[in-house]
């Protein structure tokens, strides 16, 4: 088996370094191809590692590749090492694979942007960070990756930093993630305090030494971190705003990879959840609630990307539902499938935006199927996949989640099923508004002539992702024991802590049929309601359009609600005390500096006086010590 995991982050990191220094010289389009090449190389290494791992017996598929000790201070030994096991390898494969495809697409999408090289600098750094996050064998090192992806996300959301909306969206994402990161840090403190190690295998091996209370605290703190990164209630409002970034970024970071890091973290630490009490229930409820809330909001949005963004939040809610009910394999399955169809949807949306010269309001689109047949087909594939129409990927993946939810608690299943109808509906709504109906874009001034289909560098990735979105379900088929590839593959990692569904084969068939029916209901609804008209205000209540007023509520509570308090804080505490302290320190230091530099007269004899005074002082001290 190939023990060269370090090469995987190293390639994009090298690409980052080269592009950061020579990016502009390398230029357009070579810089993009270089970046794509590095990620593809990582993907190739992941494939070789996979081939080697398949040859090993199941019990030998996990190893830690320690490179060196990064911080060897007293008890804290932070090792730079990679934990390679079936779980991290699945993550690595789909992260590098999807990243490579999206890099490729970006070569076309960003072709006319003046920040072309800079874009790929960040993108490569992101992939390297994501791989570190996924493979790190030590929580501190995981945190390095965790922060790294957050930083890249911030840079890329604010990529067009001269647009105020982009800049403030970047800031919002940054702040919300800080809240989550605080949870991560605290969880590390708690775990280190109890176990004196932060190595992931060591933590999982010594869970028995943890008291239930400590385990619960650590698990809840990690879950807080996960809600920030994965945009769950209550920290989900940054993700829709993050759509200010370029579309490939939305596809890669804010759909396929980074936002699912929270789910991965939960699965990675799943034995900890078992040691804790009630945390799983909390996760399941938060997950399913997020799924429903986000799906209702998605049904009313008018921005082509925001619909998909809320859909992402909703889908990640499903993944957390899976984690909460102990269906870890199903969570990973849905994550992979979601990466395929959601990046497909984003890239198709990007293609539409590209063709309409950066127009994003779906109410100004329509009838595009004639002009963009490839995009049309790709979007339709993505829609039907996410809707759960058999036999496309989400049918299997979401089905697996719902089976386990049903077996755990019927209430969870009901909410999940309702969400499934919404899912099929909102994506269908967008599909019909964009590709059917009147050609409303003709009223837009920027568009001269007909919209154009995207170039082949953008169509190629769409085709690949369409195929994957369609057949992704093959990864893990139910009904037959030899077809559940993913389940048996992940069994060495999560098998012992997974909860098995009590639904028999008959029940599984019944649920599968129900799922299909639900999907068809959603699709039909969308078709009935949006096939022709794009204007149905009664179907878009303001409450939902404004995202359940969450932002406004946060605004009221945290900003305006305590206007007096805020005003007090801003004007008195902030201005007088904090700013005063900071500025006072600064000006005090400067004042001191200016004073001190007057001693530095430039005259040799003054310098000599300094030496002599110092000498006299030290001599005096020594003589006092000597008792003279």
């Amino acid at each position: 088996m190939l023990h060269a995991a370090y090469l995987m982050p190293l390639f994009p990191l090298a690409g980052f370094a080269v592009l950061a220094v020579f990016g502009r010289k390398i230029g357009n389009p070579l810089a993009g191809w270089l970046a794509t090449g590095t990620v593809t190389a990582s993907f190739a290494i992941a494939l070789v590692t996979l081939a080697g791992m398949i040859g090993e017996p199941a019990s030998h598929r996990s190893f830690v590749e320690t490179l060196f000790t990064w911080i060897p201070v007293s008890a804290l030994h932070v090792q730079v090492g990679f934990l390679i096991d079936p779980l991290s390898l699945v993550m690595v494969l789909f992260v590098t694979g999807v990243s490579a495809v999206i890099h490729w697409y970006s070569i076309g999408y960003m072709a006319h942007d003046e920040g072309y090289a800079r874009f790929f600098v960040y993108l490569n750094l992101f992939v390297a960070s994501m791989l570190i996050l996924v493979m790190a064998s030590n929580l501190v090192f995981t945190f390095v990756g965790w922060e790294g992806v957050g930083l890249c996300s911030y840079f890329l959301i604010a990529f067009w930093y001269d647009r105020p909306a982009a800049a403030s969206a970047g800031k919002k994402a940054f702040i919300m993630n800080r809240v989550g990161d605080a949870g991560f840090l605290l969880a590390m403190f708690v775990l280190f305090n109890a176990l004196h190690t932060l190595s992931i295998p060591a933590i999982l091996a010594h869970l028995g030494d943890l008291s239930t209370g400590t385990a619960t605290a650590a698990a809840l703190l990690l879950f807080l971190a996960a809600t920030g990164k994965s945009a769950q209630i209550p920290l989900f409002t940054w993700l829709p705003d993050a759509m200010e970034g370029p579309t490939p970024v939305s596809a890669l970071i804010h759909a396929a990879t980074m936002v699912t890091a929270g789910v991965y973290l939960m699965v990675r630490m799943s034995p900890l959840l078992h040691r804790a009490t009630d945390v799983s229930e909390v996760i399941a409820i938060v997950g399913v609630a997020t799924a429903l809330v986000a799906a209702t909001i998605a049904s009313t949005q008018n921005d082509i990307k925001k619909v998909i963004a809320y859909s992402t939040v909703s889908q990640i809610g499903y993944m957390f539902l899976a984690v909460g009910v102990g269906a870890y394999t199903a969570a990973i399955f849905l994550m992979v499938a979601h990466a395929f169809y959601k990046s497909l949807l984003f890239l198709s949306a990007g293609s539409v935006i590209h063709g309409l010269h950066d127009e994003q309001d779906i109410k100004k689109m329509g009838g595009l199927r004639k002009f963009m047949p490839w995009t049309f087909a790709a979007f339709m594939a993505g829609w039907l996949a996410i809707a759960g129409v058999p036999p496309l990927s989400a049918f299997w993946a979401k089905g697996a989640v719902l089976v386990h939810a049903f077996s755990y608690d019927i209430g969870l299943w009901i909410v999940g099923a309702i969400t499934a109808v919404f899912t099929a509906y909102y994506m269908g709504r967008e599909f019909y508004i964009v590709f059917y109906g009147d050609e409303r874009w003709r009223r837009l001034e920027v568009i001269k002539g007909d919209p154009h289909e995207s170039p082949w560098v953008m169509r190629g990735p769409l085709v690949i992702l369409s195929v994957l979105a369609a057949i992704g379900g093959l990864l893990d088929l139910p009904f037959h024991p030899h077809l559940d590839f993913l389940s048996s593959w992940l069994a060495p990692v999560v098998g012992s802590v997974s909860r098995h569904s009590s639904v028999g084969v008959g029940g599984e068939w019944a649920l599968a049929i129900t799922d299909s029916v639900l999907a068809v209901i959603g699709v039909t609804l969308a078709w009935r309601l949006w096939r022709v008209t794009a204007d149905a205000r009664h179907l878009e209540p303001a409450f939902l359009q404004r995202a359940w007023l969450v932002d406004e509520t946060y605004d009221k509570i945290f900003a305006r609600g305590g206007e007096a308090l805020a005003g007090f804080l801003a004007n008195v505490v902030e201005a007088k005390i904090i700013d005063g302290a900071v500025n006072g320190t600064a000006s005090g230091l400067r004042w001191m500096g200016s004073g001190l530099r007057r001693i530095q007269t430039g005259y040799v004899r003054n310098y000599a006086i300094g030496i002599v005074l110092g000498l006299v002082a030290i001599l005096a001290w020594m003589l006092v010590r000597a008792g003279v």
Partner: protein, 102 residues
């Protein structure tokens, strides 16, 4: 002669050292300042010799030769620097040099 104890030599050396240090502080002429440094070095030499005599140890006397060589090297380099800077001036005053400060 034999009545003069080591303490006298040591005191003389300390006085020479002090005079040298004081001279460096108060004089402006670079050459004189430099001579003051030489005076301090020789005060150290005298101290070495005295202790060597008191301890009955030859090593302290040997040190003096090293110091003399070092002092000679310092003279060569120091005078060269002084000449290079003050070549075109009538006086060699250390206070002329204060472009660099702050």
């Amino acid at each position: 002669m034999t009545d003069v104890s080591g303490a006298w030599y040591l005191s003389l050396a300390a006085a020479l050292f002090g005079i040298g240090a004081f001279g460096l502080l108060v004089r402006r002429n670079v050459l004189v300042m430099f001579m003051c440094v030489e005076l301090m070095l020789n005060a150290a030499n005298l101290t070495f010799v005295t202790f060597a005599r008191m301890l009955n140890d030859i090593a302290g006397q040997a040190v003096v030769f090293f110091v003399l060589v070092v002092a000679a090297a310092e003279v060569v380099v120091g005078l060269a620097i002084i000449v290079a800077i003050f070549r075109r001036r009538r006086e060699a005053t250390a206070d002329d040099l204060h472009i660099l400060r702050g």
